[in-house]
């Protein structure tokens, strides 16, 4: 008797589990094929965006398996990708960005998606440098999702007023404002500490100080004279100035903590990419209103971009048609609007309406168009867009050393940057 009831119970449980699974699958059926997508988008808004993509693909009959691996900046996801390659279990698409796209291409594992690119006319709808970044040997192998701007300065307007500081327009007025804030007893700049945050600041200072040509020469071409020259020394000197106005106890506090400090008025400014907008709205402020946004001030205007992208792999267990559909759906105007509104970035493809986006996104789009016209669009080195991991790491090391070692001169730092970047480049090319 007892055995029977246990049996009955387990059958009931089994059936209900099966029912739930069927319920989940029903969403995707009828399936025209599936694609597994390896990514590190696990935060609330990001995961939601992936669900939107999943739903949009399901509507067309494709199944998207969301293989999300948590862990900051994707280092865990990268490790997972490598182990999956070693065990011959490749994902259909994996979140890979910047020069790593070309690095993976040399392994011969990537898939050609020229077919989708032709259908959607990518060479027309994507900005030149971005389109180039998605290609390898002249063929499209990756699909871009968004455009983030790195060189932003976020300013709490009321704090500035309280301290009697003027909104900055160039470097000198910025320093004057920082001085005023400090004497008023307010932390002028929230941030610092974490090396990637300092590097992000360095990124913004570099384009504002040296301009796009200098930036490209230094961080894209790794030209030794640009890396070790006077302009680079000047960039380091300005980083030292910024450091002196930063929270000295900020070490180890995360970037979103710093954004919170600005919104709450404990600090006046933050130099951070436009993903900071998510934190600003979370704290019930409006980007562009209470918290002003402007390109980091200096002698030059420019747009330092960061593009998230997914690279396609062949001989994976995914279906080719589903992989194509993934690329197509990601660049559809509907998804571009939904996704970028949630992520704080702007659509990467042209011809998408920005209605409903915040003021900073509209500003970003305007500056982007201007920068594209003036050849002032550069890939961000601090966000893995300009160099591979080895070279980026070497540049980060020098910036971290300079930031924390007050006895290091800007000239010495510039020289060290040139030699270490060269060595890392050599190591990763062999």
């Amino acid at each position: 008797m007892r055995n029977q009831s246990i049996l009955r119970k387990s059958v009931t449980i089994g059936l209900s589990v099966a029912a739930m699974t069927v319920g989940g699958v029903a969403l995707a059926a009828p399936s025209k094929g599936s694609v597994s997508v390896l990514n590190w988008w696990t935060s609330g808004s990001e995961a939601k965006s992936m669900n939107v993509l999943q739903q949009m693909m399901a509507d067309k009959g494709y199944k998207m398996i969301n293989d999300a691996v948590s862990g900051g900046g994707g280092s865990n996801a990268r490790t997972v990708l490598k182990s999956r390659i070693q065990s011959n279990n490749l994902p259909g698409a994996a979140q890979i960005k910047g020069p790593e796209i070309q690095q993976w291409c040399t392994t011969g594992l990537t898939m050609n998606i020229d077919k989708v690119a032709k259908q959607q006319n990518w060479s027309k709808i994507l900005p030149g440098p971005v389109a180039k970044g998605m290609q390898c040997n002249g063929h499209y192998v990756a699909v871009p999702f968004n455009l983030h701007r790195i060189n932003w300065l976020w300013i709490n307007k009321s704090v500035m007023q309280k301290a009697g500081a003027q909104m900055p327009t160039d470097w000198d007025s910025l320093v004057a404002a920082l001085k005023k804030l400090k004497s008023a007893g307010i932390t002028p700049i929230a941030g610092g500490g974490d090396t990637w945050q300092v590097a992000t600041e360095f990124d913004a200072i570099a384009i504002a100080t040296g301009g796009a040509d200098f930036y490209r020469k230094a961080f894209v071409d790794l030209d030794p004279s640009a890396l070790s020259g006077d302009t680079m020394a000047k960039v380091f000197k300005r980083l030292r100035t910024i450091e002196q106005y930063e929270d000295q106890n900020g070490q180890g506090l995360s970037w979103n903590h710093d954004t919170g400090e600005v919104v709450q008025g404990k600090a006046a400014m933050q130099i951070m990419g436009d993903w900071a907008k998510g934190e600003i709205t979370n704290d019930n402020a409006t980007p562009g209103k209470e918290i002003a946004c402007m390109a980091f001030p200096g002698e030059h205007n420019g747009f330092v971009y960061n593009t998230d992208s997914f690279e396609m792999f062949k001989s994976s267990h995914s279906d080719k048609n589903a992989q194509y559909a993934f690329a197509r759906t990601a660049l559809s105007p509907k998804f571009q609007r939904k996704f970028n509104m949630a992520k704080g970035s702007i659509p990467v493809r042209e011809g998408v309406s920005l209605k409903g986006f915040d003021a900073c996104a509209k500003q970003s789009q305007k500056d982007f168009t201007a920068a594209e016209k003036n050849n002032a669009l550069v890939p961000s080195f601090s966000q893995d867009m300009a160099e591979n991991g080895a070279v980026k790491g070497a540049i980060f090391d020098v910036i971290a050393k300079f930031y924390n070692d007050k006895s290091m001169t800007p000239e010495a730092a510039a020289k060290a940057m040139a030699s270490q970047a060269k060595q890392a480049k050599m190591m990763s090319q062999m």
């Binding site: 180890g252 506090l253 790491g393 971290a400 060595q423 190591m427």
Partner: protein
């Protein structure tokens, strides 16, 4: 031959049974032996091989000689990691042993509420290193933790900013690591103390030896095996320390609290320089071996000598 003949006769009587008895234990050890051969020594060998190749994003088999080691020795960040490990390792082992021995001796004085105290000092061990790291990160942050609290109590001159000071940050790692492990060392020593034959101590006391004398001449020397196992445990823990630093300082400020394990992970997995990471791993293993070998040899020799007496 004459000696072994009765045994041989016995074996001949039930040869199968005999042979099975002799081989069964060995056979049952084969799977685990094979597993450790492949998954420990095999992978150690593979790592050493990778450190001799120019592997970058994925492992390759292109032999490159000692190039990765040459580069490794030129990197400032590697030497920072090595020096940090020396500072951290020495202080961590020494302080843990001192605190552990002291607490164990105090607890051994037949005090009341020992069970209670034991729970308290063993508690930190129950926490993962990640939790320890995060807790100490908040405690030591100057604008949120200790410094802030003491200053708001009125001592405005008080300053404790080691966590954000690049020259001192490695010592905060020592503090948190010692807090985590010294209770465990206490437990080891307490077990050792309880295992000492009380008749020897009584005999010494009858001979008129004072309590400190008893401790220094009898008890502590007879804790030698406990010292040995505690040091081996602590040294290997120190060399592979990773999660505590990640949670406490994130390796910062800058890279001032990096340890070789962090170097290895970062270069091998994040920066796509598997060759360099493998070289770092190989050197770490060599360090463990170098630290352990003299002690192992001494200990084994001691035991062999002991048996001949």
């Amino acid at each position: 031959m004459a000696e072994s003949s009765p045994r041989a006769a016995q074996a001949a009587a039930t040869p199968w049974r005999r042979r099975l008895d002799r081989w069964l234990p060995k056979f049952s050890l084969v799977p685990s032996g094979l597993a450790s051969l492949i998954f420990i020594y095999g992978f150690i060998a593979w790592t050493i091989w990778l450190s001799l190749t120019n592997s970058s994003l994925l492992p390759t088999n292109n032999f490159a000689g000692l190039r990765e080691y040459k580069v490794l020795f030129q990197l400032d960040i590697w030497w920072v990691s090595v020096i940090n490990l020396a500072i951290f390792g020495i202080l961590y082992v020494a302080i843990c042993l001192a605190i552990g021995l002291f607490l164990a001796i105090m607890l051994d004085q037949k005090i009341r509420a020992e069970g209670w105290l034991r729970t308290i000092y063993l508690y930190p061990l129950a926490l993962s290193l990640i939790v320890t790291g995060v807790v100490w990160k908040w405690l030591l942050n100057p604008s949120l933790g200790l410094e802030h609290v003491v200053q708001s109590l009125g001592w405005t001159g008080f300053s404790f900013d080691w966590l954000v000071n690049p020259n001192m940050a490695i010592y905060t790692v020592v503090i948190a690591a010692v807090w985590q492990a010294s209770g465990f060392v206490t437990a080891l020593f307490l077990a050792g103390l309880r295992g000492i034959d009380s008749s020897i101590i009584k005999a010494a006391q009858i001979d008129g030896a004072s309590l400190p004398r008893v401790y220094f001449s009898i008890i502590i020397p007879s804790l030698r095996p406990v010292f040995f196992s505690a040091i081996i445990l602590l040294v290997s823990l120190a060399i592979k320390s990773f999660d505590l630093v990640i949670a406490l300082t994130g390796g910062g400020p800058g890279y001032s609290t990096w340890l070789p394990a962090i170097f290895m992970y970062n270069f091998g997995f994040n920066r796509g320089q598997i060759g360099l990471g493998a070289a770092a791993a190989t050197l770490m293993m060599a360090a463990v071996a170098l630290a352990m070998l003299p002690m192992l040899i001494a200990e084994l020799k001691e035991r062999r000598d002991g048996r001949t007496h």
